[in-house]
Amino acid sequence: MATIITAGNLTRLAGELMKAGCRVIAPAKLDGMVVFKAITDEHEMLPEGEYILPHSSFKEFVFPRTECILRYRLGEQGKVSYEATNLDAEPAQAAIGCRPCDAASLPILDKVFGWDYRDEFYFKRREKLTVVSIACSRAGERCYCTSVGCAPDSKAGSDILLKKTAGDKYVVEALSDKGRQLAEKHASLFEKAEGEPPVEVVDLKPAFDVEKIKPWLDTHFEDPLWLDMAARCMGCGTCAYGCPTCHCFDIVDEGDLRGGCRLKNWDTCAAVLFTKHGSGHNPRTSQEQRYRQRVMHKFKYYLEKFGLRACVGCGRCSNRCPVGQDLYAVLKTIAERAAK
């Protein structure tokens, strides 16, 4: 017996969740773009057929672009007090209609935010998040999830995975306790179907052998490829900020003479000042070094340290790059060179 939800009931699910005080994050229109948005009306949620991949990832809801980590007050005679931000009052949140690649970014981010020191700013939001993803029945021009070991129907990070079946319906697979609880709580929206209804999942063939990437990187820290690839890179943060797994940040104080906030802001390894020391020394002065760092971090260092690649193959970096730099093409080149 399979569990089924209709597209209409999925919209209703969003509505019921919102009524219960849950923040619902769903693909919605913003001018000409489809973005993840904390919707206020369930009809803002786009039908799954109208998008392949939202323009930006939903990491913003677990790792905001800017967030206050503590509020300080400057008192008399140089005395200071502060209040650390408490996220306990954050509402429960559900991401509905995201893609398996986005969901797969969560177990990747869990690693860095959880090793040794546990970053509660991330985890409080993460624990309150239930992920309902929909397997892809179509692939975008720059989708390459299968090339980096992810899949259009990957289960990683999802609490519920939906797969499209005939008649605007989805086969429901609850993958975690959170997912099962959500399905039980809103049981009236789900129905049972006999047997195993056929599902539509896009057959996206891997374009290169990802296993070849790391061995090549291991031995090619110095290689003319880096300059070739970096020559066009403009050093903006578009790729990193759109990437569901990029997680670098900055910490700054902002305030006036009475007090202010200490903030945690997104940052990017593509920026010149990212690594510059107080002394003026900069370990990575050229775009070549910075671009190499980005690729190495995702496909070598992260893998060595945390056992996962920091890439889900969503292709957002390529889609968004103002100069058409395509990580997929870079990886393909590397894999081809490694195969020689």
Binding site: H55, T66, L227, A231, M234, C236, Y241, E254, A271
Partner: protein, 233 residues
């Protein structure tokens, strides 16, 4: 803009293929002493406009064919020019390029405020707009200066307003209207609206349009005791 990069400069003379609008950017850089004309070999390409559909800026372009050798001293002369555009240059009195600015100006202040609030709230401070801008060449941008911190580097409302407005101000009388910032913006913020408004103001008050005359003093650098504005005296 790659012209200012160390990797490029250290290789010696640079050959650059330019459309009319690119030549305006180069003009700006020459005017501001960022690149010496002798370091460049300019290959001008006539252009009827780019983009499908045609970019709005191209519809109002008045430099379809770059100036070649022998052009008058007040135009940047390319070393070679290839072809001739088949479309006519826009006339100086054509104000079509300001249509979208007029639309925003027509809004009531609260609506205009709401418009910009919504647009600028999207900014993620990736600085793609700055990185692709041919005229943004500072080694250390104002937003990266923190003694004092002139502009908040955080992507919240105050920070985003400060950044985008100051960027527009810094490009006033300098922006050549290529629209690269808006095309690069991953958040679809209509950045050229701000730049066009600035360009219009500079043209009106200072009779200056950026990127045409390599011998002209840039608007923000020019000082003339005979200026009609009394704050100059």
């Amino acid at each position: 803009m790659y012209l200012k990069r160390d990797e490029v400069l250290k290789r010696g003379k640079v050959g650059l293929v330019v459309k009319g609008c690119d030549a305006r950017a180069v003009t700006g850089l020459i005017q501001e002493s960022q690149v010496a004309r002798e370091r460049l070999v300019l290959i001008g390409m006539a252009c009827d406009g780019v983009g499908e559909p045609l970019l709005d800026m191209c519809k109002h372009c008045d430099v379809h064919t770059p100036a070649g050798p022998g052009a008058d001293a007040h135009r940047l002369a390319c070393d070679y020019v290839s072809g001739k555009a088949t479309v006519a240059d826009a006339k100086p009195e054509d104000e079509g390029w300001l249509d979208d600015v007029r639309k925003i100006e027509a809004l009531m202040p609260p609506e205009r405020w709401a418009f910009w609030q919504e647009k600028l709230s999207r900014c993620i401070r990736c600085y793609a707009c700055r990185q692709v801008c041919p005229l943004c060449y500072c080694k250390r941008c104002l937003v990266e200066k923190n003694e004092p911190q002139w502009i908040s580097s955080s992507a919240h409302e105050a920070g985003n307003f400060a950044w985008n407005i100051i960027r527009a101000m810094h490009l006033a009388g300098r922006c050549i209207g290529c629209g690269a910032c808006e095309r690069a913006c991953p958040q679809d913020i209509p950045l050229t609206l701000l730049n066009k408004k600035m360009a219009e103001s500079v043209a009106r008050h200072f009779k200056y349009r950026a990127g045409y005359d390599p011998t002209a003093a840039p608007a923000v650098k020019a000082f003339d005791k005979a200026d009609e504005n009394d704050f100059f005296r």
